[in-house]
């Protein structure tokens, strides 16, 4: 079963889209803040999209 690579719009080697989002304390975090400084692990938790 082709589990990988068919549904994603991004793949390894692509440039990560920049973003600016508020954290749990209201501080805005931008991906660009890490450029040239530190690598980032970005974990999506899509809990809100499932009712219940």
């Amino acid at each position: 079963m082709p589990l990988f690579g068919t549904s994603a719009t991004l793949k390894v080697g692509d440039r990560a889209p920049d973003f600016a989002l508020p954290d749990q304390n209201g501080k805005v975090v931008k991906l660009a803040d890490f450029h040239g400084k530190q690598s980032v692990i970005l974990a999506f938790y899509i809990r809100a999209s499932t009712p219940g």
Binding site: A16, S39, V40, R47
Partner: protein, 84 residues
């Protein structure tokens, strides 16, 4: 390490307290970032977690989806300098 959910900032704050999260938990309530990363299409088919490793130059180095992404240690192996 950054976490992103579609929950409100308020709910993320509660979640962070409940789980003693030691990393920023970002709120993507309008789903713009989830769409930009193609995460919503992942979740229609698979589990509800996707992890990206992004290097210092802003390039994607590794993608974990589904059950693999639940344990971020898999992603750490692809990360030359784990977040401190």
């Amino acid at each position: 390490m950054l976490g992103i959910s579609l929950d409100s900032q308020e709910r993320n704050c509660k979640f962070a307290q409940e789980t003693s999260a030691s990393f920023p938990l970002l709120s993507d309530t309008d789903k713009q970032v989830a769409k930009a990363y193609g995460v919503l299409s992942f979740t229609r088919l698979f589990a509800n977690r996707v992890t990206f490793v992004i290097d210092k130059d802003g390039m994607i180095r590794h993608i974990d989806e589904g059950s693999d992404a639940i344990d971020p240690s898999g992603a750490f192996h692809a990360c030359p300098v784990p977040g401190k």
